[in-house]
């Protein structure tokens, strides 16, 4: 295409100008990519720390209104909602069907039936309030990663074999093999053996959770094969809210909640962080666009003779416009490709040199091709947008004026 050739020659001829503006665009795009990856990595890390090892979505029986037994546990939001069942509540029946249906959607990395109840762990004179958890241990492990967080004993739970947290073990001086009694508010009592001790990273959990097998908890609370809730993790953490809305429509007999609803503070913090990052990016992009625009505006003046001559020789006004739009697009393209490489280099440097005391990366940054692709596309369009005004000016140049003035 003739216009492309002319655009390339114009850029090549204005060597220093082109190089300077290319570096300008490259720096801008590098900052964009670096900032994006950094904030993105930081947020994913924060969210992972918060909800990586807890359910993203929880469903419970509609008839069970949350009634907190343990104030402290409220700090663990999703947990607190479901950790309130008393033995008197109506259990959820036919849950295997529900579990299968949920699993079939393919949206969940785990679907874990749970029984939540309150009780007391008693050893001799000492008695502590606890949350009794009935888990399908393998399925629950996918959410809570208990196996890897076991600090003592072995990973098993049964009718009378329980897993307890480090704090509870310490307070009651329990160790694997120790025997204690577990009592419900209604007076049911079972003698349990500690099989393992876990540290799930949250004090509230380590102090209060007593994990039984599903049948064990069913017997203890007299649920006759029922459960009190269901917990899930999803592939895309941020989609949890949306999926929850779908579940509310499909299974209205249950009350569904997502981690987002329970972590409004974290989310609003993340959102304002994103907003400020976007604002910075928008201004960087604006500066880059204005840079391109001013360089091209100067170029129109410098090349007015050439434009005049091309018009005399028969190029259309659109053709003239295209010459400058293409220059804008080419600057955006070239600048963003260089910028992508610089941005990638910056992130690699960051990951290599900024480390925790133990020498690990601060947080993981995953760089997909998406961010680079988006940057390039955005830069190309920004370049063309920047070129719009100079292109118009060029197209309107009066050939006669240009030729007359030598």
């Amino acid at each position: 295409m003739f216009e492309l050739t002319v655009a390339l020659r114009f850029l090549k001829e204005g060597r220093l100008q082109s190089l300077l503006i290319l570096s300008g665009i490259a720096i801008g795009i590098a900052v964009l990519i670096f900032l994006n990856a950094l904030i993105g990595g930081l947020q994913v890390d924060l969210v992972n720390q918060t909800v990586g090892s807890s359910p993203h979505i929880a469903g419970r029986n509609r008839e069970q209104e949350p009634r907190s037994v343990l104030g402290k546990v409220q700090q663990e939001p999703v947990v607190s909602i479901v950790a309130t069942a008393g033995s008197a509540e109506k259990p959820l029946r036919n849950w295997t069907n529900l579990q299968e249906q949920l699993a079939e959607t393919g949206k969940f990395t785990s679907v874990s039936p749970v029984i939540n109840g309150s009780g007391f762990m008693i050893l001799g004179e000492r008695s502590l309030p606890v949350i009794v958890k009935g888990f399908d241990l393998e399925e629950a492990n996918k959410i809570y990663d208990i196996r890897n967080k076991l600090v003592d004993g072995e990973f098993s739970a049964g009718r009378s074999a329980v897993l307890i947290g480090t704090e509870l073990a310490e307070e009651l001086k329990l160790s694997p093999g120790s025997i204690a009694r577990l009592t419900t508010p209604t007076g049911e009592t079972v003698t349990v053996t500690v099989s393992g001790i876990f540290d799930l990273g949250a004090q509230a959990i380590n102090r209060s959770w007593v994990i039984l097998s599903l049948p064990g908890a069913q017997t203890l609370f007299g649920l006759q094969g029922g459960i009190t809730g269901i917990e899930m993790q999803v592939e895309d953490v941020f989609a949890a809210d949306q999926i929850t809305r779908i579940l509310e429509n499909r299974f209205p007999e249950l009350i569904w909640s997502s981690w987002q609803e329970e972590n409004a503070n974290l989310l609003s913090a993340l959102n304002s962080q994103s907003a400020s990052s976007y604002l910075i990016q928008a201004f960087v992009l604006l500066a880059v666009t204005m840079g391109i625009s001013s360089v091209l505006a100067v170029s129109v003046v410098q090349k007015s003779k050439q434009i005049g001559i091309l018009k005399a020789l028969g190029i259309t006004t659109e053709g003239v416009s295209r010459i400058f739009l293409i220059q804008g697009a080419l600057l955006g393209l070239g600048g963003s490709i260089i910028g992508s490489m610089v941005g990638w280099g910056l992130i690699t440097l960051f990951l290599t040199f900024v480390r925790t005391e133990t020498g690990e990366a601060l947080f993981p940054i995953t760089l997909g091709p998406g961010i680079f692709l988006v940057s390039v596309v955005v830069a190309v369009f920004a370049g063309m947008g920047a070129a719009a005004l100079p292109a118009r000016r060029a197209a309107q140049l009066n050939t006669v004026e240009v030729i007359k003035n030598g």
């Binding site: 003739f2 002319v6 020659r9 001829e13 050439q306 018009k311 020789l313 190029i315 259309t316 030729i403």
Partner: protein
Amino acid sequence: MADQISLKNIGKTYGTKVKTTVLQDVNLTFARGEYVAIIGQSGSGKSTLLNIISTLDRPTSGEIYAEDKNLTELTENELARFRNQTMGFIFQFHYLLPEFSALDNVLIPYWIGAGRKPPPDKVKLAKNLLERVGMADRMYNKSTDISGGQQQRVAIARALVNRPGIILADEPTGSLDSQTTVEVNKLLREINKDFKTTFIIVTHDRHIAAECDRVVEIVDGRIHKDYLTSGLEENKKWQDLAPVYCRESNGDCNTAGMCPSGKETG
């Protein structure tokens, strides 16, 4: 011979508050293959007239026809297309694109018209044209790396590449020395003979004017004289032309012996 271009009552006025009338009641026709000089004092409106004929400028009143097509009714882009296909341009200041080689410059009108890279036969044509104007050995040079006279030769080759029926030239030798002027003039005349291309040349140079078949003299934006010179004797031509050049005090009037010497103004 059919009229190739005809101007009907052309007028050109500049300004809205203070009106300057530059052209008035201009009626002209040009036939195919004519070799016409437009002469006149500086500021008389020669360039303005040529720009209107070449459709680079629009008249304030009147109409221009190319064969039977009313050019005044065409849009900018239609005119651009028309120029590209039917007109060749030679300007005083050459106006080659410095970003391109001599050969590329010659090919630009084709490139614009066809919208694609010139095929080998067009490249060959361009090379032939460059050879014709004596620039065969410099065609890969950047257009800024050759002398003014050489640039003008390249510009002439460029004006020919689309095989236009008419070539418009505004002082084509204005920035050349007298030796080069003679050569360029000879070249234009040869092309006119060989390709039957119409030439309309605005010139201060009476060597060129004397070479022409027809002279149109403009005075104050009106056609003052319009006559054929081909039948006239050499001496008569000079007589006709001399007063014009003397009025402009443009150099060697004395050699014609018709009027007192004037200052060189260029």
